[in-house]
């Protein structure tokens, strides 16, 4: 598979179909990898999800934020299609007021840093990887 054909299967951020607080279709067609997703979750330059969420699966990591709910059991509370919606654009699920960033959204704040204009925080495949990881968080 060439890079171009892989990208052809990718859903652009503005084309993601949110329905009933879920995104049914994979954004890439390639199943997410939970191990990679775990790294993205804690990496400060990628998901940095720990900035706002505590996560018992990552006890060894210092400094878990408390801005959002604990991630423990998120895989019980939400279906993967719902997690995809929450992580791609939390505002579609929780409303405009939520502080959780849209990780695959171009509906963002003003004055975006010049080199980031039109870019999403995570790529489509990274969203799939994080969804696969969070789906493993069962109690």
């Amino acid at each position: 598979v060439t890079a171009a054909s892989a990208l052809a299967d990718e859903t652009a951020p503005q084309d993601v179909n949110f329905e009933d607080l879920a995104v049914m279709a994979s954004l890439t067609g390639t199943p997410g990898d939970p191990v990679t997703g775990r790294d993205i979750f804690k990496d400060r330059k990628l998901g940095n999800c720990l900035a706002c969420h505590t996560n018992a699966d990552m006890q060894k990591e210092l400094f878990h934020g408390t801005v959002g709910p604990a991630m423990d059991g998120a895989g019980d509370r939400w279906e993967p299609a719902q997690l995809r919606a929450i992580i791609a654009d939390a505002k579609e699920v929780f409303g405009e007021q939520t502080v959780m960033p849209g990780f695959y959204s171009v509906n963002v704040g003003k004055d975006v840093r010049e080199d980031l204009v039109g870019k999403t925080i995570l790529t489509a495949q990274q969203i799939e990887d994080v969804v696969a990881y969070v789906a493993t968080l069962k109690e």
Binding site: R44, N48, L50, A51, C52, L62, F63, H64, G65, T66, V67, V99, P101, G102, V108, G109, K110, D111, V112, R113, E114, L116, K119, I121
Partner: protein
């Protein structure tokens, strides 16, 4: 020292809280002990500059203002003020520049020049303990307050946060290693342990905006002056703490 007080009318909180309350015990003690507080070195440096002749007119600040302990006492607690000449708000940094240019024949400081931070720290320190009170009836200050309020609630950057996302909706929460305060201005310039240096208010504003992954406005621009008017008002009644110590 007032670190907690009833909020003024129209404030989103019932109580305004100093950033001091959100710091670790050691950091609080460091601030409160004037012998240990590392910011006091910059107060001393500021006192030296106050008495040093500069510019083409052969004057120092002391030439006109004598002993700052008398003439500057409580003054900085009422800034920003309305500058009728410039027709915009003026803060301590800009007032220093105004006197340097108009009354001393010296140049305005570059933003965040060491001497600018030291002299600002020195002047603010003369209001230590005085409650913050901005008089919004001066000139068009109320209009600038309105504009500052708009900016405070406007989301910026790829991460899509407003000041209020962190300092209002989530004040008291932890965001990674940081304990989110109300983002008050009463301690500025503050000594930041992480940087081992004084941090000016506009530097802090720019840092917080940058963290939303946004382009940030210039220091002393209309946007940041409006924000200074509004954010300072949000701390009405808190004691000036300069030099505050932060992590």
């Amino acid at each position: 020292m007032t670190v907690r007080t009833a909020a003024p009318e129209g404030h989103p909180f019932d109580e305004v809280l100093s950033g001091w309350l959100f710091r670790e015990a050691e950091t609080r003690e460091l601030e409160a002990d004037s012998f240990q507080n590392p910011g006091m070195l910059y107060v001393d440096l500021g006192a030296e500059i106050w008495n040093t002749v500069d510019g083409t007119m052969g004057k120092s600040c002391a030439t006109c203002h004598d002993d700052a302990a008398d003439t500057m006492k409580g003054i900085a607690a009422n800034y920003p003020k309305w500058d009728a000449d410039a027709k915009r708000p003026i803060n301590i940094e800009l007032q220093i520049d105004k006197c340097r240019v108009e009354n001393m024949g010296a140049e305005a400081y570059k933003f965040d020049a060491a001497d600018q931070k030291a002299l600002t720290t020195y002047i603010k320190h003369q209001s230590l303990g005085t409650p913050v009170a901005v008089d919004l009836s001066q000139g068009e200050l109320q209009t600038w307050w309105d504009r500052g309020k708009d900016i405070y609630y406007t989301r910026t950057g790829q991460l899509n946060f407003a000041c209020a996302s962190c300092h209002e909706a989530n004040s008291g929460q932890r965001i990674r290693a940081d304990h989110l305060s109300q983002g008050q201005a009463n301690g500025f310039p503050t000594y930041r342990l992480k940087q081992a240096n004084m941090v000016s208010l506009h530097n802090r504003f720019r840092g917080c905006i940058r963290d939303t992954r946004a382009e940030f406005p210039k220091a002393f621009s209309d946007e940041l002056m409006a924000l200074e008017v509004y954010v300072t008002w949000r701390g009405t009644g808190l004691s000036v703490e300069t030099p505050a110590v932060r992590q």
